[in-house]
Symmetry: C2
């Protein structure tokens, strides 16, 4: 994976090497100096690449981070199958919180979320990421419907969004710390609400 450049006319060889060097340098810079201390010139120097190349291909640090994020999250996530709805949900929320507890993953995520507020490129990358996560998680809900654990008219996407909301809101909005406890509670609360039929289809997400 990660060979070549998607929308590029000449994605092989040198271009790919440049890309790898830049992404590597970016990760190192982010780890050592944080986001505010990571400039295009530093990345260029560290990667052994001309500054103009960075500006031409990406345009800014943000864009490079977004591409790094898109790369890192391109792999499909496994859908849990513990046998129970709440068990599956707990697996999902725990894996999400686990990812957010990893420093580097968290750092990249932070940047993308911070950018997404006013940067359409970051917004798109982030939304697409969650679309994939939600689609994957929806399978868990659909199985729960088939097992009769939740009502048939349950909206799978809304259930998954509800399950993810608490710890993301803690991190990015209220500024509270998170732990695996938050994952477990989010799963419990969501499972309960879903069983009680609080996520009916209709009115929400008109384009299924």
């Amino acid at each position: 994976m990660a060979e070549g450049v998607a929308g590029s006319v000449r994605p092989g060889g040198r271009t790919a090497r440049t890309r790898e060097a830049v992404m590597g340098a970016l990760v190192e810079e982010l780890s050592e100096h944080g986001y505010s201390g990571t400039s295009m010139e530093r990345i260029a120097t560290r990667a052994g690449v001309a500054k103009t190349t960075l500006y031409r291909r990406w345009g800014g640090v943000d864009q490079i981070v977004v591409e790094l994020f898109t790369d890192a999250t391109a792999t499909a996530i496994p859908v849990p199958d513990t046998g129970s709805f709440e068990g599956d949900l707990r697996e999902l929320t725990r894996s999400a919180v686990g990812l957010l507890l990893d420093p580097l993953a968290r750092a990249i995520f932070d940047i993308v979320v911070g950018e997404a507020v006013h940067n359409p490129v970051a917004r798109t990358a982030l939304t697409q990421f969650f679309d994939r996560r939600v689609r994957g998680g929806a399978i868990v809900v659909e199985r729960a419907v088939q097992r009769g654990e939740v009502p048939a008219d349950t909206d799978p996407a809304e259930v998954i969004r509800q399950a993810g909301a608490p710890y993301f809101a803690r991190i990015y909005v209220t500024g509270d710390p998170i732990s695996l406890q938050d994952a477990d509670r989010a799963a419990s609360v969501t499972a309960l609400a879903a069983r009680e039929g609080l996520f009916p289809l209709q009115a929400t997400s008109p384009a299924g």
Copy 2:
């Protein structure tokens, strides 16, 4: 309100006028050019104030926005009292969503949230804002406890955080649109979970 400057030695008269002019200019600039198009020089010119004054007193656009945010959210919010726990919760979530649906309030909020990811000043302002909101909302939970609607060992702060999470996560993380429906569902889900005792005190929020 908003007369003078808090930590200032000479807060009256000119200083206060400058402040007002700057805040007014900031709001106009944000409305017309958005965040990325709002520079210190533009604000200075529009406010009829020297650029140096802005840099001395604030240091950057972000800081001015944070002060604007802190000002605007300084007023205490009324605590609803509809007679039922779920009714009170719904009032709370609806007023929050209502605020987020107002363009200017939303714009300011966006900036602060986006900044808070990597800017301690914004982080503090945002966290303090939610501390107040949560403290206010907690009263609703405490009354529910007294009425016997929810278990006695319910953690009020966690209940309020849970109620707010869904729409904030939609806006700032997944990037989905919000409506008053999201407010109602958040209230329903949270009320149900609280009644079932899913927010026990202990383990969370060690410093009450």
